[in-house]
């Protein structure tokens, strides 16, 4: 019997395991399906990691290395090349590796499986089905870890950060990146990445455009047709532009990977595709916690690692202390906020503030984020210069403002 089993050895899993160890848990196991620790960080060879956590700009592998080195100094057990096949709500985990199939049990579980990329099928891009269409992350792995050349003339669909980073990577590797196409009227990536990945190399960004056809010659991409879309995302006839290329990279979003969570009957939020969580990152199943991109897609690995610390501390508390929660309240959100993490808050809690993060589906200039109680009274306000879909927004709500008789709080945004 383990104290804690962590599923996944990426930034979330490693940070969670270390924190649990530092907080007194003895028997900790981390299960990882890849042949090494580090997760996605191993292929993110660019810098920009660690500014919050380590006060230093690190590359992905350097950021992962800091955790891996510390883990190696502990007696945390790491099982590599091991797939978790199944899990149940009694905290049994069923694994498969070259030693065979095995049932493991733990007092608590932390889910840190991360997310996967949306594919061409998810957005139903029409056209031929030849070679040369990759998700940006797959291309990143081929290029940075396997050393394959992915393509020479590239069009990127979607302006997510991975796509932007790949635009720069492919340019540095000698490819010509012809265009980055974004269906929304705003970029999905961080502003710094638009600057240092597109503008630095004069790569044009087509906002309010999408790919409406992919043509292949000899089973390889030979050109794409891009078209302008209107405000309702309808394709504008006659706006077609033809771009000759041999490669299309898709950077069209990430989906939390929760097949295992569903096996354990954990409630999933249809908005985030991740588990519904409490303020301490506990799921709807007692003793199963989650953190990182399996919960919601984060902008920064630093925030993933910090969320993992929170989950790990709660898991330690769950194992080592008596339960004190009596009741719970809901966190509701009004448009254009698309979801909140957490969706629920336990009461009473020791913490003085609850961190609530959320995204909007609209660009807002100068605005005020407001929190109301169940009676509709505004209990706190947070002015912002801007709120954009590409950036995860965060507020800290003082617990003292959440009164005992309430059953919910609501978050909304008012434009100035």
């Amino acid at each position: 019997m383990y104290d804690l089993i962590v599923v996944g050895a990426g930034p979330a899993g490693l940070s969670a395991a270390l924190t649990a160890y530092e907080n007194g848990l003895k028997k900790i196991l981390v299960v990882e399906r890849d042949k090494e620790m580090g997760g996605i960080l191993n292929q993110c060879i660019h810098n920009g990691f660690g500014l919050h956590l380590f006060k230093k700009e690190l590359t992905g592998p350097e950021f992962a290395g800091r955790f891996i080195e510390k883990i190696k100094e502990t007696d945390i057990e790491i099982m590599l090349d091991t797939m978790v096949l199944d899990m149940d709500k009694n905290k049994n985990v069923y694994i498969l590796n070259t030693n065979g199939y095995k049932k493991l049990s733990a007092k608590a579980i932390i889910l840190a499986m991360g997310c996967r990329e949306r594919t061409r099928g998810a957005i139903a891009t029409p056209g031929d089905r030849g070679a040369g269409v990759y998700t940006a992350g797959a291309a990143q792995r081929y290029m940075n870890m396997n050393g394959y050349s992915v393509g020479n003339k590239v069009v990127i669909l979607g302006s997510g950060d991975i796509g932007l980073i790949m635009a720069r990577r492919m340019t540095l590797e000698g490819a010509k990146v012809l265009a980055c196409i974004e269906i929304n009227p705003y970029s999905a990536g961080l502003r710094r990445n638009i600057k240092q990945c597109l503008e630095d190399f004069d790569i044009p960004l087509y906002l309010s455009h999408t790919i409406t056809d992919i043509k292949c010659t000899n089973n390889r991409v030979s050109k794409v047709i891009i078209s302008k879309v209107d405000e309702a995302y309808n394709i504008i006839e006659g706006s077609e532009i033809e771009i000759k290329c041999d490669t299309v990279l898709l950077s069209i979003g990430l989906i939390p990977e929760n097949e295992l969570s569903k096996e354990a009957d954990i409630t999933i939020d249809e908005r985030t595709k991740g588990p519904v969580v409490y303020e301490n990152m506990e799921t709807s199943v007692e003793g199963i916690f989650c953190c990182g991109n399996v919960v919601q897609v984060h902008d920064l690995a630093d925030n993933v690692a910090m969320e993992a610390k929170k989950a790990a501390k709660a898991a330690c508390k769950y194992i080592l202390e008596e339960k004190t929660f009596v009741r719970e309240i809901k966190v509701e959100a009004n448009k254009p906020i698309t979801y909140t993490i957490p969706q629920k808050i336990h009461l009473p809690i020791e913490e003085k503030v609850v961190d609530i993060s959320f995204r909007t589906n609209k660009v807002l200039d100068k605005c005020v984020i407001k929190v109301t109680n169940s009676n509709g009274e505004v209990v706190c306000k947070y002015p912002r210069e801007y709120v954009i879909p590409a950036e995860l927004e965060k507020i800290n709500v003082p617990v003292s403002l959440i009164k005992d008789e309430q059953n919910s709080i609501t978050i909304y945004i008012e434009e100035d």
Partner: protein, 114 residues
């Protein structure tokens, strides 16, 4: 006035640089923005992150970076030069892979153990 997005951190501050007033920077949230703003107008630099080939290792490629920011216009040239480099495992983080790359005075170092 020159308008720039700061790339110093994910916050991405909108900087204004006054080229007629000793490149004074406004719109920044921290010191990084002040230095970046002035530097970006006068002598833009970037840390290069890329890969070199590695033999007898867990992967085919070793991630590397420039030990200091390189002049921006040198990025593609240096990246091209590194395509010819092959190292042998084991390599330690921060180990120098190429000293003084293309006479820039800047080294290329490994960013992980492999």
């Amino acid at each position: 006035m020159i308008e720039l997005i700061c790339i110093g951190c994910p916050r991405g501050c909108k900087l204004l640089i006054d080229e007629n007033n000793d490149y004074t920077v406004t719109g920044h949230s921290c010191q990084i923005g002040v230095e970046y703003g002035k530097n970006e107008v006068l002598n833009p630099t970037r840390v290069l992150t890329t890969i070199v080939k590695i033999e007898n290792a867990i992967h085919n490629c070793l991630p590397v970076k420039s030990s200091k920011p390189l002049p921006k216009e040198k990025l593609i040239e240096v990246s091209k030069a590194l395509k010819e480099v092959v190292v042998k495992s084991p390599v330690k983080t921060n180990e120098i892979i190429v000293k003084n790359i293309l006479n820039t005075g800047i080294d290329i170092v490994a960013t992980r153990d492999m």
